[in-house]
């Protein structure tokens, strides 16, 4: 349950989002991300889950004409990451992201993980080595990768590639990690690995995950948000959303009557 003692890591406040073609993809979304918790975003295809997720690290800034309206405030420093004065690069240094399809760079395993450190200007090889090892361990890939760190990342299996992408996102010690359907391209075993990993990562950081898989949301998340047509229909404790949803639409969706 939401208790007064759980600190909030970030919260969106009345967030609207407009794509360059005028589509209003998010409509007044307000919800918290609790610190060291996993929040799941569920909802039918096209309801705006990815759009919402990508607001957190300002990915929409990469394409001209997109417009945010509202706030995403990070704590404890109270920075509104959507504010004009805040550089998206600064935001991405604090909030990292794992994509739907594994997208390693066509570089070695080592260079993939080290990339975030290089971007931050780290030059000391010892430090980078240590961080790479730590991140690969954190992503449960160290055992499989330690003897082939300088192999091309493409030679890994899909599940390993996704863990590599997690390691890449982890190496820079982010405060929040965003996952956009991280297991939809993976088989059940690789999926289970990643879910376990997310549960462990929760001790270090705050997670926001988009998923189409109800069981996954129920298994891994602490809080769940149900979105529909760009609106937040219901937000709450995962147990509660899946057992006693207050809104009829939520119940229809999670029981499979709709969507």
């Amino acid at each position: 349950m939401v208790t007064a003692t759980t600190p909030i890591k970030a919260e969106s406040r009345d967030l609207n989002f407009y794509y360059s073609n005028g589509t209003r993809a998010l409509k007044g979304i307000s919800m918290p991300l609790y610190e060291n918790k996993i929040t799941a975003l569920i909802g039918p295809s096209g309801c705006g889950k990815s759009t919402f997720l990508r607001c957190f690290n300002r990915m929409h800034d990469l394409y001209p004409g997109n417009k945010y309206d509202g706030q995403i405030v990070m704590h404890p420093d109270n920075t509104n990451v959507l504010a004009h004065g805040v550089d998206p690069i600064e935001v991405r240094m604090r909030i990292s992201m794992v994509f739907q399809k594994p997208n390693p760079f066509p570089k070695s395993i080592y260079e993939n993980v080290a990339y975030g450190l290089r971007v931050r200007g780290e030059k000391n090889k010892r430090n980078i080595d240590d961080k790479v090892e730590e991140a690969l361990k954190g992503a449960a890939l160290w055992e499989e990768a330690k003897n082939r760190l300088h192999d091309l990342a493409f030679n890994l299996s899909g599940g390993q590639q996704q863990r590599l992408c997690i390691a890449r996102a982890l190496a820079t010690d982010p405060e929040i990690m965003l996952f956009d359907e991280p297991t939809s391209a993976l088989d059940p075993i690789a999926t289970a690995n990643i879910e376990e990993l997310m549960s462990e990562l929760r001790n270090k950081l705050t997670i926001l995950v988009v998923t189409h898989n109800m069981q996954q949301a129920a298994r891994v998340s602490d809080y769940t948000a149900y979105m529909y047509l760009g609106e937040l229909i219901e937000y709450g404790d995962t147990d509660m959303i899946f057992t006693r949803p207050t809104r009829k639409e939520t119940e229809d969706y999670i029981t499979g009557k709709f969507g």
Binding site: N57, L62, P64, N103, P106, Y115, V119, F154, A169
Partner: protein
């Protein structure tokens, strides 16, 4: 539906598939014929040149200056001229073309102005080369006073292949998946970091291919080089770019008069004495071989570089 009508439908479907397949067949034949016409013409031409020029294939042909006697006349000044002109062309077209391509793809705002530039660049690739020659004569020779020199020729040909390099660069960059780009931005990279640490690396194969194909085209260009006043008969070499004394580099060669392979060939061809036509044929064969080698290298490099990049 009754059994009979299902069968009748199936017959119709089969007949239709057959008709459609016939189109496949016809097209395959037409395509093959078209391909053969192109290939066979080139092959015949090449064999013809080789047979005509056969007697001149020797080392002396490459180490002799042009001469009044066809048997002694060689290509030395021409191939050295071509090589030096190519160096200038490469150094002028590649950095500019790649930079322009990257700017247009990565930095330029997408609006009517960039559309206009885009259309212009594509059209430039189709401008007849003699027009470049006239432009260069006015700009490099008369206005900038660079003389009828290697520098002028190199810059002219550089201008000529600039659109090729720009287009190749843009296409290579467009081949990079959005997901890879977003991955780099997502860890906090700046635009320049994305360009210098990812975009350039992953598009290198495509850019290189474009550059080599452009250079191969420049090697065979005749009209613009004649327009700016290449010599047709020179029995000297430009000053050497490297010297034995410090500073070891010498740039006098840039302002030297010159000739290039296609012009030497043209010159020999226009002589009444038939013996010189043999020299011309041998030169033509050499140009074709070098061009094919360059294009072959481009294909091979592309394959080698792409092998490690799968998407």
């Amino acid at each position: 539906m009754t059994q009979a009508s299902v069968l009748k439908n199936l017959d119709e479907v089969r007949a239709m598939i057959k008709r459609h397949k016939l189109n496949d067949y016809i097209f395959a034949i037409v395509g093959l014929i078209a391909l053969m016409i192109g290939l066979l013409t080139l092959l015949t031409l090449f064999i013809d040149l080789v047979m005509d020029g056969f007697e001149r294939f020797s080392l002396e042909f490459l180490t002799n200056y042009p001469s009044r006697r066809a048997v002694n006349a060689g290509l030395l000044s021409a191939w050295v001229g071509s090589l030096l002109v190519m160096v200038v062309t490469f150094l002028s077209a590649v950095p500019m073309g790649v930079a322009a391509g990257i700017y247009l793809e990565e930095y330029a705002p997408k609006n009517w102005f960039s559309d206009l530039i885009e259309i212009n660049v594509t059209n430039l690739a189709g401008v007849p080369s003699i027009v470049y020659g006239l432009l260069a004569l006015g700009l490099f020779v008369y206005i900038l006073d660079l003389g009828q020199s290697i520098l002028t020729a190199g810059l002219t040909l550089g201008l000529l292949i600039l659109p090729v390099v720009i287009v190749a660069t843009r296409e290579a960059i467009r081949g990079i998946p959005v997901a890879i780009r977003e991955a780099a931005y997502a860890v906090g990279a700046t635009k320049w970091q994305v360009v210098s640490q990812h975009v350039i690396h992953y598009s290198f194969g495509g850019i290189l291919t474009g550059v080599i194909i452009g250079m191969a085209r420049a090697l065979g260009e005749t009209a613009p080089v004649i327009t700016i006043g290449a010599l047709t008969f020179i029995a000297f070499l430009p000053p050497s770019p490297v010297t034995t004394e410090p500073p070891f580099l010498n740039f006098e060669w840039l302002s030297s008069g010159f000739t290039v392979l296609p012009i030497q060939m043209f010159n020999w061809l226009s002589r009444p004495d038939h013996a010189f036509h043999v020299n011309a044929a041998a030169t033509g064969a050499l140009i074709i071989v070098v061009t094919l080698l360059m294009n072959g290298t481009a294909i091979w490099l592309r394959y080698r570089i792409r092998k490690n990049i799968k998407w």
